[in-house]
Each structure stands twice: as C-alpha cells, then as structure tokens.
C-alpha cells in the first residue's frame, strides 16, 4: 500500500517483484490518447523511457501488482479496482498486491476522488486490462503445450489444459506472455460467471491500518523536513493589519516566522513547538469585506426568498394559472446550516520546492488540480512537479480543494526548505470551505382529487451556486413547475461536501413531499409512485432520471420495511437520485422523554453492479450514519465572521450510542456500476424527518433536528401515529394479492 516515488524505478521493480522478469502490461487504457495496451520490459522502465505507474504486472513468482490511480479516502477504491482486474484475469486474489500510483496524467485520465465516479468511469477499462492479460497468458500456455488456445481455460492464477491435465501458473507464463502481441479485442466474462465481483472482499489495507502503519499524509516524514502551522484570519472578511512575531521567533525550536498573503507561518522543528509558538504571534486584523453572522443570514434568507434576484433553472407549463386554480396549496420552508467537513485527519501537505523541481506529498482528492495550482502559483512547469498521493484520513469534499497543498508549496519556496504544513482541528473548523447554508421554499398546488398540478421550489444559499437540482424528480412529473434560486455572495468560503447540494436538498424535498402527500390524503409512497408513473406515461419536458430505477428502490424498501403493515412502527419514507445511483430509505423513530430516537433505517440501493459487497454495505451504512448525524446534531454557525464551533467539544458529530440498526438491500439489476460513495447519504434526513412526523405529528424543518425547539425543551406528550391511517397504496395491495 505504499506510495512510490516517480524516480525510484529500482524500488518499483522490487515492489512488483519484477527484477527477475515477468509480464508488465501497460494500463494505457486509462489514457485518452493511447487505446492500445503495450507490453513494457524491465529495461525500458529502468532506463526511464516509459512511465511505470500504470501497469498491471505479473512477476515470475505469480505475484500480481496493480496500481490504483485514484486517491483512497475510505471509499475502498484500492480494493474494488483491483478486484475488477482480478476478476477478468482469473487471478488468485491472495496473490494480488495493490500500490497507490502517484499523480501521472500521461497514464491516467481521471485521478480524482469525487462525484462517486471512479468505478463507473473505469469499469470497462479495468475489465479489459484483466481480460487482455489473461488472453496473453492463455496464448503463452497454448504455445508451450502446442494445443489450440480454445482448449485452454484460465482458473485461479493458472492456465489449464483439461485434455492433458497440463497446468501452468501465471508466474511461469508471464515472461512468454510478455513476448506476444497484445490483442486488441478481448472477450469479457458473463456476469453470471463472476467469482469476485459481487462478493464480500476485505479491504486490502486492513492489516496496515490495524497495526498503525504510517499511511496518511500526516504520517509522512522526510529527513530534515520542517514543520509549520499557519495562522489564518480568525474571521471571514478580515485581513492582516500588522504582525509582531518577535516573541514567537525566539521560542525554542522555531526556525522562522513568515508572513505571506493573509497567513503567518510559524516554522519549526516539531509540531508541538510550532503549535505553542504560533499562539505567541501577535496579529492585528482589519476589515476586508462583509463581516457576517448566522443571525444575519437567518434574516437575509427570508428577505431574499421574497425579493432576491432570481435565476430561473427550470420552467414547465404555467405555474401561476395552476396555483390560481388550485383546490389546495401547501407552502413550506426548510433550512440547513453550514457544516464542516471535518475529516478525522486534519489538512496537511508536504512540499519541497527546489531549484530543480518541486516535490509534493499529501492527502488530496484532486492531485492533478493541486499540481496545476502549484505550477501556476510558483511559475514552475507541471513536468517539474511530482505529487505522491498518500492515503486520505477522510475527505468528504474538503480535499477537492487545493488551498492546503499550494500554501505548503508557497511556504517551502519562501523558506527554501522541505516543510510539512499541518492544520489543527481548530484551523480546519475555522479555516473555511463549508457545506453552504441554504433555505428552501416549496409550494405545491393540488387539484380537487389531490393530484399535484403545480410545484415551485426556490432555494437561497450562501455561496451555494445553484442549490437546486432542477432536472431531478419531480421535474418531468408535474405539468406546471418552476425551480429557481437566489445566491448570496459572502466572504465565508464554501465547497462541495459529500453529495453536494443533495445532502440537504434531498431532506427538504422529501420532507415536503411527505407534507404534500398527507395534504392530498395519499400514502406517501403511493404519491411518489403515481408521480413517477405520470412521468413515464406523459413526461413533462425532459426527464433526466431513470424512472424504473427510482420505482425499483422505492418498492424494494417498502417491501423490506413492511411499509404500512408493520404495527406500532412510526415510519418515514424518502427516495433520492444523486450522481448516477438511486437509494430509498425508510426510517423508524420512537420518542423517548420527548426526544426522537432513530431505531432503524432500511435502505434499498441501486448502484448497478455491486463490485465489493462488503465495501458497498460500508458505503451505504456509513452514508446513512453520516447523513443522520449531520441532519440531527451538527451545525456550524458564525458570529462576527468567525466560526463559533471550533472543535469536537462544541461541533457535534454522531457517536456510537446514537446509531440506529441499519438494514441494507441492493437491487441487483446487472447494469454497469453507477457509483456509491455518496448516494446513500441524501435520503437519510428525509426518512428520519418523516418518521418523526409519523411518531409525533410534528414536522422538523430545520437542521440539526435536535436543536428544534420542540426537542430542545420537550413538553409535548408524543402523539404516536402510524402510516396505516392513510389509504393503502396500490403497491401494498398488489403485494398482498
């Protein structure tokens, strides 16, 4: 699981066990330019004529090494990518070794962790890589035995000729195979023959993780490197006026104090010495923009919803007429606070800017962007900059940004020394790039039969960009629809946070649908299914989601949770499409001393083919825990431009005692993988909010739920209701019949 340095070619050969020869097959399928795989020899790599990061290699001892190009942050890509290769290769999984590839844009075309996109993007490429190598090994064996290749089969790291009982290991064939021409079109396996894909396969990094190996960016050490911490402005909308660093500079272990841009960098010989000295730098700040507080935003949201400058995102039919003629109008507003990403490993990056080039090492979701930004900042060409990707102690979108890498590079260039910049937890929570705070206003028009004939959504966000997903459900299912937004530009920096936008839009929308279904006197699931049916039969404008997949997860979760038939359970339903996948959830809530306790969440996910069942379950369970924790407990607020919550004592994250039972089901429909790192998170808040309504008759409309007045000072006796009071859905009738 080590990251290898681009220059250490010998090290590479050692790591892959290739010093004695073997098959090195270029993974150049990753490259947009080269579609034909190539065989690479040891001499070529040793001479530096070819890059070596993108290769699948089979050593003579049978060891198979696969480079994983994408940053690993817990989505388990270092296990699932090689599984796909090994499946087609018919490899012995126990002999597969995985190495993290450094940034190599010549060999890989999407070295990014984000958007739940890695497996969907690379699925075919990886399968082809494995199948090509297998094809060559089989030809090598057939030639050795002088038999037709059609009579040979590949099995668990061996090529077998059943007629004669001949059997050769991949290691024994690797060298012969490397001399064969590379086939262009190879046959891929039928999914019914998959042996690894769809099974529970353990994380390849488990042993290193549980024994405390230094896998992460913060663990990186280079002999002679310095440690640094930067004091950034404590409040957004301020800049440095003056710096007095005399006392800090005189502290033991401190090598330098450097002010650049709005940062004062304290550089020293150890983390603790730097941490202590930084507190002694006296910095005066002055106003440099709006100084904003959460209380201002709350007022602003309300006025901007009415009077802000609107950008229309989607308009179908005539909403004015629909609302004018409506039998019933439902109007509701939902609000979500800023959130910190707070990955467990705080931001950090190592940089060594030298005359002959730049070396960067650290945990990043976007190594290519980090290098590009460094190149631009320092005026050094990209080919002079290497970037090694360490394991990431979480990302959640925070590490899509490159600020913490470029500041390390800038500091190294200023002090002319190798340096690792470390953020404290407080730096991380106060230093920006948050999930934006947003308020939504929903309006629904129902006709006399309870049909949804008009729908309006307006989102107002702080640096949120477009806080809607205008082409998502229910667009396409409603004749008259208007989706627009207003954006407030603020000095408070925001960024993508796991399942960007949908991580809070889904809660608001799915809770509102529950309100509308109840107002229409319809079962909430049947209400959605009816709308989906309408979108299928009489689509309004473009429908950019897969109706059948959304219906599929809806029906599956309803069946598994005993929706509408389970006595005494207060259930809430939610379904959402994000990125490319569909997840439906049903939450069950009980009230305890006037406060909601989430007992269980059922989930049905359609992510296409499940690659690693263990990892996939983790993504769904973790996504639910993440979604629930942030919906119920977490918030980041501002006072005079500064974050109020600065560490885990005041910023609440979910902990073990609070987790509900989670039951995960996958729709196994055989379509190609559509990604799972994010899609399980968005539906959770809605499933819980709707279950709270089922349990109490109260709507929670603001996150975090536990700070709603009704739960902060619980005085009401819970009024337990059940979904069975609503008409049964046709789905339930069908199931019973």
């Amino acid at each position: 699981m080590s990251t290898i340095n681009k220059n250490s070619r010998r090290e590479f050969l050692k790591l892959t066990g290739l010093t004695g020869g073997g098959l090195m097959l270029g993974f150049s399928w990753f490259s947009a330019q080269a579609e034909t795989p190539v065989v690479v020899n040891e001499a070529g790599i040793a001479a530096g004529n070819v890059g070596f990061n993108s290769y699948l290699s089979i050593a003579t001892d049978g060891t198979i090494t696969i480079f994983s190009p994408n940053p690993e942050l817990g989505q388990n890509i270092m296990t699932s990518f090689p599984m796909i290769v090994a499946e087609e290769l018919e490899a012995d999984w126990t002999k597969v070794k995985v190495l993290q590839a450094p940034l190599d844009t010549k060999s890989f075309d999407r070295q990014v962790t984000g958007g739940s996109g890695a497996v969907p993007h690379s699925w075919k490429l990886l399968r082809n890589a494995g199948a090509t190598a297998k094809n060559m090994l089989m030809h090598a064996a057939a030639a050795r035995w002088s038999v037709p290749v059609e009579e040979c089969t590949a099995l668990n790291g061996f090529v077998v000729h059943s007629k004669t009982g001949n059997k050769l290991g991949y290691g024994e064939l690797a060298e012969d195979a490397s001399k064969l021409p590379v086939p262009k079109d190879v046959k891929l396996k039928d999914r019914k023959d998959f042996k690894l894909i769809g099974k529970e396969v353990k994380n390849v990094a488990n042993k290193d993780i549980v024994t405390g190996k230094g896998l992460f960016g913060l663990d990186f050490h280079r002999e002679g490197m310095l440690y640094a911490m930067l004091q950034r402005p404590p409040a957004f909308g301020t800049k440095i006026k003056s710096v007095d660093d005399a006392v800090a500079k005189a502290m033991p272990g401190i090598v330098n104090v450097v002010t650049f841009k709005n940062n004062v960098a304290v550089v020293g010989k150890s983390t603790w010495e730097v941490m202590k000295a930084r507190k002694l730098v006296k910095i005066e700040y002055e106003k440099d923009g709006n100084i904003e507080s959460t209380a201002d935003h709350d007022k602003l949201f309300k006025s901007l919803l009415d009077t802000g400058t609107v950008t229309v995102r989607r308009k179908d039919g005539d909403v004015d007429a629909a609302f004018k003629n409506a039998a019933k109008i439902i109007k509701s507003e939902y609000q979500c606070p800023f959130l910190s990403h707070s990955p467990m490993e705080p931001m950090n990056f190592f940089a060594d800017v030298r005359a002959d080039g730049v070396e960067l090492v650290g945990p990043t979701q976007t190594p290519g962007a980090a290098r590009q930004a460094t190149s631009k900042l320092l005026g050094i060409p990209e080919d002079k900059i290497t970037l090694n990707i360490t394991r990431l102690g979480g990302g959640f979108g925070r590490r899509l940004k490159t600020d913490y890498a470029t500041e390390a590079a800038e500091l190294s260039s200023l002090i002319k020394a190798p340096v690792k910049v470390i953020w404290t937890r407080e730096d991380d929570m106060t230093g920006g790039s948050y999930r934006p705070a947003v308020r939504y206003r929903f309006e629904a028009a129902l006709d006399a039969s309870g049909n949804l004939v008009g729908y309006k959504l307006r989102g107002v966000g702080i640096n949120s960009g477009n806080p809607t997903r205008e082409d998502n459900f229910p667009s396409g299912a409603v004749d008259n629809l208007l989706i627009d937004n207003v954006e407030h530009v603020s000095p408070i920096t925001t960024g993508a946070w796991r399942a960007p936008i949908t991580n809070f839009l889904a809660f608001a929308e799915q809770a509102f649908f529950d309100e509308v279904a109840h107002a229409a006197g319809k079962d909430p699931i049947q209400f959605r299914l009816d709308l989906l049916q309408k979108a299928k039969e009489k689509p309004v404008g473009a429908v950019k989601y897969d109706i059948d997949r959304m219906m599929g997860v809806t029906k599956l979760v309803a069946e598994k949770a005993g929706w509408g038939t389970k006595k005494g359970a207060s259930q809430g339903f939610s379904v959402y499409f994000s990125h490319r996948s569909y997840v439906a959830q049903i939450g069950e809530v009980v009230m305890k001393a006037g406060k909601p306790v989430v007992k269980k969440i059922y989930a049905a996910a359609d992510c296409g083919e499940v690659v690693n069942l263990s990892g996939a379950r983790q993504q769904v369970m973790g996504g639910i825990v993440d979604g629930m924790g942030h919906a119920m407990f977490s918030k980041l607020s501002f006072k005079d431009g500064a974050a109020v919550q600065k560490n885990f004592d005041t910023y609440r994250l979910i902990r073990m005692k609070e987790i509900p039972e989670v039951e995960v089901h996958f729709v196994n429909n055989g379509i190609e993988p559509t990604g799972l790192g994010e899609p399980a998170l968005p539906p959770t808040g809605g499933a819980i909010a709707n279950a709270i309504f089922a349990a109490t008759g109260k709507r929670v409309k603001n996150q975090p739920f536990m700070e709603e007045d009704v739960f902060k000072n619980p005085t009401v006796t819970p009024n337990i209701k059940t979904n069975t009071k609503l008409p049964k859905s046709s789905f339930q009738k069908t199931k019973k019949a």
Partner: protein
C-alpha cells in the same frame, strides 16, 4: 527542554523535549511511532488513544512530564505480530473505511477487553462512545469488539 526516559511498547526510549509536550507528539515527531493519530488535540475524538499503565488514555493531552516510569503501549506495540484478537476481528468484520481513527478505536477496545473480556453491548457502546469515526463505521466497530470478546 529536558531529558525524559520513557517505556514505550516495552522498550526504553530517551527524548529531549519541553516538559509540556504531549505524549502524542513525542510518539509521532520524536519516536516515529505514527500509528497514534492526531484528531482534535482536546481529548474529544479518541484518535490518539494509547494504554497508560493499561488504561486507555488520550495521549494528546498527556504531558510527557507526567509519564515517569509508567508503561505506555501504542498500536504498534499492542501485539508484536499484529494479531491481537481485536486486530484479527477488525479484518474479519472488515471494519476500516478511511482507517484514520481505527488505531484509537482498537486501543480503546483493547483496554476494555483487558478489564472486562466479555462486555455487554451496552458496555461496548458506553466505552466506544468516546471515539469518533467520521466515516460512520460504528456498526462494524461494535461487531468487531463483540467478535474479539468471543476469542479472548
């Protein structure tokens, strides 16, 4: 600065650091034992948990001057072969996602099992409640502690 003699994972070490230096940073910066993680620095997340005379302790707030001759065990020293029942259970249940908090989780659980080899679910939850896993792997952490408790 002062010289401190430390017993870590059964080995004597000597470091020359300021007396208020937390054990966490001595382990990480001075001894190269980076398995113990920094997460919050205020004893809230548990990523830095080590055993201090057998008791699960947050090393981020433990000044080096308070250690004396006490025995410190870190994740690197939990089992020489890396096969403590918890480490095996962690793999068996396939617990880690990003993996960053897991050393602290395992050290917290190891101290619990040492004191109480067969804890109830409530006791496991009560003990592990202090350790944050941002990936939300709590279900499997709980399951792995239970599994390990059957092997002790």
């Amino acid at each position: 600065m002062a010289i401190f003699k430390l017993n870590i994972n059964g080995t004597e070490h000597q470091v020359d650091v300021a007396e208020d230096t937390p054990l966490l940073w001595v382990l990480r910066d001075h001894l190269g034992l980076v398995g113990t993680k920094y997460g919050c620095g205020i004893a809230q997340c548990g990523a830095c948990t080590v055993h201090f005379n057998g008791v699960a302790t947050r090393s981020c707030v433990l000044p080096i001057s308070s250690i004396g001759s006490s025995k410190v065990v870190t994740i690197e020293g939990l089992s020489p072969s890396g096969e403590h029942p918890l480490q095996l259970a962690w793999n068996e249940v396939d617990v880690p996602q990003c993996g960053y908090c897991q050393a602290g989780q395992i050290m917290t659980a190891a101290a619990l099992l040492k004191q109480k080899p067969h804890p109830t679910t409530e006791e496991i939850e009560g003990t592990m409640h202090g350790n944050i896993c941002r990936c939300g792997a709590y279900h499997r952490i709980r399951e792995a502690v239970k599994l390990a408790s059957t092997k002790i």
